[in-house]
């Protein structure tokens, strides 16, 4: 029983990271009906920028761990959000009225550009985060759970809760939902659609960047290709939960993390990624609207 529960906690931790990244995908898709290929790379930028800021500014030493990391997180999120806005302006806005393929290619091109840009700046080797967080663990129900793992899950859930509150309970959030449902009607209601889109490209990437920072702090090692794998899995999570649906992204992320961990543990480690992709394909065949999605994806 214990290994099973341990695998579950593993899965939940990874899953919460997937969920954070998935939120970015789902929000952008909701308003633009476009899969932001470069989102995974924004996540990677978060991790790298976090590392650079952490090692150069040493905030955790100047301000203490708690406040130091908080300020770091805000900085990283801000920078990545800026990058996201830039991305939208350069790669997505010019093709907004063009056929679908153009936007897809543009997104792909942006992703390639970002990934290689990072590689040129930082080099191809793995980079390591300095050890700033306590490595302690505690025992619960006989399970050995590292504090960090709980921290990751809590941080992710906290961010998701804030987002959910924002989208459901604030006017701006309502505007976002309106644009997601029907941009033209929203425009008629006096909503500045361009601003909303920009906002989405601030929030989504900020969350992705935060996820990157979390990954860096938790695992300690980052590489410039991690955006690709995490991106694909996060996208799978978003689809699993129902694309365009925010609670869906959260649920999908956690669920995918669990499925992957348990599948890898009980079926085969070597096929772990294939299991995740298999879930994606299965969902799209069997229930393309995802678990919580109300709308069926068009032309499916």
């Amino acid at each position: 029983m214990r290994p099973f529960l341990e695998q579950c906690t593993n899965g939940l931790a990874v899953g919460s990271i997937y969920a954070l990244i998935a939120l970015g995908y789902t929000m952008v898709y909701g308003v633009l009906k476009l899969i932001n290929f470069a989102h995974g790379d924004l996540f990677t930028y978060g991790a790298y920028l976090g590392m650079t800021l952490l090692t150069s500014l040493l905030l955790h030493e100047r301000l203490g761990i708690g406040p130091g990391l908080l300020v770091l997180a805000l900085m990283v999120m801000g920078l990545v959000a800026l990058l996201g806005v830039l991305l939208e302006r350069v790669a997505y806005r010019p093709v907004r009225s063009s056929p679908r393929l153009n936007a897809v290619v543009s997104a792909l091109g942006a992703s390639i550009f970002l990934q290689n840009g990072l590689m040129l700046v930082y080099g191809a080797r793995y980079q390591v985060y300095p050890d700033v967080l306590p490595q302690t663990a505690f025992s619960i129900l006989g399970l050995h759970v590292p504090v960090l793992r709980v921290g990751v899950v809590l941080a992710s859930v906290a961010m998701m809760a804030v987002l959910y509150f924002f989208v459901q309970r604030t006017r701006l959030g309502a505007a976002v939902r309106a644009v997601a449902i029907d941009p033209d009607a929203a425009r008629l209601m006096g909503i500045d659609v361009n601003k909303i889109i920009m906002l989405v490209f601030v929030i989504g990437p900020a969350l992705g960047g935060a996820a990157g920072l979390l990954v860096g702090l938790y695992y300690g090692q980052i590489s410039f290709t991690m955006g690709w794998t995490y991106g694909m899995k996060a996208f799978t999570a978003a689809i699993l939960g129902g694309i365009g649906n925010i609670p869906g992204a959260m649920l999908g992320g956690l669920l995918l993390g669990l499925i992957e961990a348990l599948g890898a543990a009980y079926l085969s480690m070597a096929w772990r990624d294939a299991i995740a992709y298999g879930v994606l394909i299965l969902i799209l065949i069997v229930r393309p609207s995802g678990l919580l999605g109300e709308r069926v994806a068009d032309k499916v």
Partner: protein
């Protein structure tokens, strides 16, 4: 368009006609991963080669001519490597040193062999490379089966009864794991765990949990250092203390960086000796010269193995007073005995493999240094 391409190819073909030169230097080729995943190895190979060429020329060169080192980048990838090999063959090199990575070397073997050029690999340990009967292929690095033997011996010596083997599905890693498995089975020992992890990922808690459930006494990981570092770190996070041992792909200073000093302490791995442990006077003098020229000591043993490859070729040319491959080959197989290489004495057998045992056991100490074990 096609017409432009055709014209371009034509023009290039004509332009290239003018580049044949008189051979007033002896060209020794090197094919190395100057870019790509193994760039750090390739860059060291280059440095070693250039240093030796400069030293040799300072002493008058070979057979009265200056020696020129011609380097091509194989990018750590078989396809790029085969193009690079093609380029080298067209440059009139008399022999080639390289490369790192068995799959990459394999892509170049046929090309050099078909052109009758001697090749001495420095970082390709897959057994099959010298089992194909290629007459002109040699290597200064050991083979995976030697590492397998040493690994099996280490495991047995540790007294462990329940053994876990973990690899990463790559050719090298799985090959080594299979080798160890076969040797253990021959002694009647079956591993309680034999599985692969996915490389280039970060979260190995799943496989560690699964490993832990199998309750091994010792875990042997045959993969590369990034994954090893993460395994060590995450195993410590789990509070699991079973000893881990690794293969030679783990030999990299970044291991300690990734795992953290605490987690890495006590970890053992197999490797040919690291440069700082090469203790002959010539080796020490060479390290000093390298340090003087480049400002730091060599980090990778594979770079020094390339240096030994270069010296062996130079010796063969001197001794046979010729640059013809059949003569060089004969010399290397028949007459080269106990050549004082920096990495130890060198001799080759009929297959082109280096004779002698090179693998040692290293342990990571509390300060994060790699300490040679007796």
């Amino acid at each position: 368009m096609k017409r432009v391409m055709g014209a371009l190819a034509l023009a290039l073909g004509v332009c290239m006609t003018g580049t044949v030169r008189a051979s007033d230097t002896i060209k020794i080729g090197m094919i190395a991963p100057l870019t790509g995943a193994w760039a750090s190895e390739g860059q060291e190979m280059k440095r070693n080669g250039e240093l030796l060429a400069a030293e040799l020329n300072g002493r008058g060169g070979l057979l009265g001519k200056q020696v020129e080192l011609v380097i091509e980048d194989d990018g750590g990838d078989p396809r790029t490597a085969s193009l690079a090999a093609q380029r080298l063959t067209s440059r009139g090199v008399v022999a080639v040193i390289g490369t790192y990575g068995s799959a990459v070397t394999e892509a170049t073997q046929t090309i050099f062999d078909e052109e009758g050029i001697l090749q001495i690999a420095n970082g390709s340990t897959a057994v099959r490379l010298t089992e194909k009967g290629l007459k002109n292929f040699f290597r200064t690095c050991p083979r995976d089966d030697e590492q397998g033997r040493v690994a099996a011996a280490v495991i047995q010596k540790s007294g462990a009864k329940r053994i876990a083997l973990v690899h990463d599905s790559s050719a090298y890693s799985k090959g080594l794991a299979d080798e160890i498995n076969t040797l253990l089975s021959a002694k009647g020992v079956t591993p309680v765990f034999f599985e692969a992890l996915t490389p280039k990922e970060q979260d190995y808690s799943a496989i560690l949990t699964k490993l832990k459930a199998a309750q091994p006494d010792i875990v042997f990981f045959t993969g590369y250092y990034p994954e090893a570092g993460l395994l060590l770190k995450q195993k410590k996070q789990m509070g699991w203390n079973v000893p881990f041992v690794g293969g030679d792909a783990i030999n990299n200073p970044d291991l300690v960086k990734i795992a953290g000093r605490e987690a890495a302490q006590g970890f053992r791995f197999l490797s040919p000796p690291v440069p700082k442990d090469l203790d002959t006077p010539e080796a020490k003098a060479y390290m000093a010269a390298y340090q003087k020229k480049y400002g730091e000591a060599p980090n990778s043993i594979y770079g020094v193995l390339a240096a030994d490859g270069f010296r062996v070729i130079a010796k063969a040319i001197e001794a046979t007073k010729s640059t013809e491959t059949p003569k060089l080959r004969e010399y290397l197989v028949g007459s080269l005995k106990d050549f004082p290489g920096y990495t130890g004495t060198i001799a080759f057998n009929g297959k082109g493999d280096r004779v002698g045992e090179l693998y040692r056991v290293y342990a990571v100490d509390a300060a994060g240094s790699f300490v040679l074990q007796p």
